[in-house]
């Protein structure tokens, strides 16, 4: 009889593996069990359970915290796909609560108000996996050294403006290409410059990619936005406010899912983009006061 083998290192590998299973997929923000079901039926590979989508957090102002565990449980019961939820940056106890209700992935997220203005959570102490946002390679590798098993761009959440997600994805890829082009004896200086551990720089140098899966997030609102992020090298896409702030969420969600699978087929994406109804209204990322992406470096 085969025996289960367990250990923290092993757990981290299993957690990175779950992100690998999400690749090529769309993770959708949902606020109710009904929305979660619509998302699952439209082809979401996971849902992010939260009380308010980023656009509404932005509109409401005030302190945004982890969602009510009862609300998250309701969504866990409604769907069979993985359920993620957000905790505040540095809020160790919110993360512990999410682990206690057996969440599949914790997003230590800049969308919520940070609980700690210096430190992120030591994610290596947890058995459940974490995904974290990053604007550049330094942030991405710092989050990975803290134990993140998946990375996403920060973008500018709740805006429906994809410009920041594009900026972050390009920057991470440019910085990885730059590291890949260095001589081996130059990697020590690169680790210093990016303020990250040498081993992670050496990994990027050898593999020309992050050691974990990297999704796009922040401002994705249309099938074309999602396909754009895939063409720029994202391994999958988070769609936050873009779906349930639009006129026909089920149709738009399904179109975005197909656009991510066939992100290079412009004819298909053109057909998918027909008659989707109102897209979320959107705010230009440079017209807003609160830059969530600035939170947690």
């Amino acid at each position: 009889m085969a025996e289960k083998t367990e250990g923290i290192g092993n757990r981290y590998e299993l957690n990175k593996n779950l992100a690998q299973m999400l690749k090529g997929g769309v993770i959708m923000d949902v606020t109710t069990p009904e929305q979660a079901k619509i998302a699952e039926e439209a082809g979401a590979c996971a849902v992010m359970a939260l009380e308010r989508i980023p656009a509404d957090i932005r509109a409401a102002g005030g302190v945004a915290r982890m969602s009510d565990p009862a609300m998250i449980r309701g969504i866990q019961e409604a769907v069979s796909i993985p359920v993620m939820a957000k905790c505040r940056i540095g809020h160790i106890v919110e993360a512990q609560l999410l682990q206690a209700i057996e969440i599949d992935y914790i997003d230590e997220s800049e969308v919520l108000s940070p609980a700690d203005d210096v430190y992120h959570i030591d994610k290596r102490k947890f058995a459940v996996p974490f995904v974290c946002g990053a604007r550049d390679l330094g942030e991405a590798l710092r989050r990975i050294s803290e134990g993140a098993a998946m990375i996403r761009t920060k973008g500018e959440p709740g805006t429906g403006d994809v410009v920041q997600a594009v900026h972050h994805m390009r920057k991470i890829n440019q910085q990885m290409a730059a590291i890949a082009s260095l001589r081996e004896d130059e990697l020590f200086e690169a680790a210093k410059k990016y303020q990250v551990p040498y081993d992670l720089v050496a990994y990027v140098h050898e593999h020309k990619k992050l050691p974990v899966v990297n999704f796009a997030a922040g401002g994705v609102a249309t099938p074309a936005d999602a396909a754009l992020m895939m063409q720029l090298g994202a391994e999958g896409v988070f769609v936050g406010s873009g779906i349930f702030k639009s006129g026909n969420p089920a149709k738009r969600a399904s179109a975005i899912v197909q656009a991510v699978t066939n992100y290079e087929d412009a004819e298909l994406i053109a057909r998918l983009s027909e008659n989707l109804g109102e897209a979320m209204v959107g705010i230009n990322a440079d017209e807003i006061q609160l830059l969530m992406a600035e939170r947690g470096r």
Binding site: A2, N15, M21, L22, G25, G43, S80, D104, N262
Partner: protein
């Protein structure tokens, strides 16, 4: 001299890159299947990767791949399916609706619970030997529904890998290991069928 083979890798969603990396190491040609036009008659086998079975099932329908793929498998196209792929092939899913329903087994989705239930194990796969097993929100097989279904592995009291003629399916992920033997075995199945087809 073996004939050149091309393996299709269903690339709708999930860990298809990892399977492609294994095929590359084994020097096998492959093509990604993302649309109906990719599913051509020259394929010698197809791999259905891990991912979310609900997503892959929906995309198979939306992209017009569902029935053509199902017919190819019924007609004997060798198929290797991992995790979500096993769910796609199963004739019965005890806690969800069946999808391609070509493999006479009954599976349970998310049989070990949520991500905290994911685990690694060492086990033996029939015909292969000791093999590292990784289960990620995995299903298991509750029952085989035909006598010709060969059980290749049982872990913690449940069947997790089977072969039924041209169909090789497992709840764990050989593509997440560095061990090429199961993929090599699948290529043998594909090569045998190609040889038979050419001889006929």
């Amino acid at each position: 001299m073996a004939e050149k083979m091309t393996i299709g890798v269903l690339a709708l969603q999930g860990a298809f890159d990892e399977h492609e990396a294994m095929l590359k190491e084994l020097a096998a040609d492959y093509r990604e299947i993302r649309q109906r036009k990719d599913l051509t008659d020259d394929l010698d086998g197809i791999i259905i990767p891990g991912g979310e079975s609900t997503v892959q099932g929906k995309l198979l329908h939306d992209l017009g791949l569902f029935e053509p793929l199902r017919q190819k498998i019924i007609q004997g196209l060798p198929v290797m399916a991992t995790c979500a792929g096993l769910i796609l092939l199963a004739e019965e899913v005890s806690n969800d609706k069946p999808l391609l329903a070509t493999l006479p087994v009954r599976v349970r989705r998310n049989a070990y619970g949520r991500q905290l239930g994911s685990f690694a194990a060492d086990g033996a796969v029939a015909g292969i030997g000791d093999y590292p097993l990784r289960f990620i929100r995995a299903p298991y097989i509750e029952a085989c529904l035909a006598t010709e279904v060969q059980v290749l592995n049982e872990t913690a009291g449940h069947i997790t890998a089977v072969q039924y003629h041209n169909q090789l399916a497992m709840a764990f992920h050989p593509e997440l290991t560095h061990d090429l033997r199961i993929h090599a075995y699948f290529l043998e199945i594909a090569a045998k069928r190609k040889k038979l087809a050419l001889g006929a």
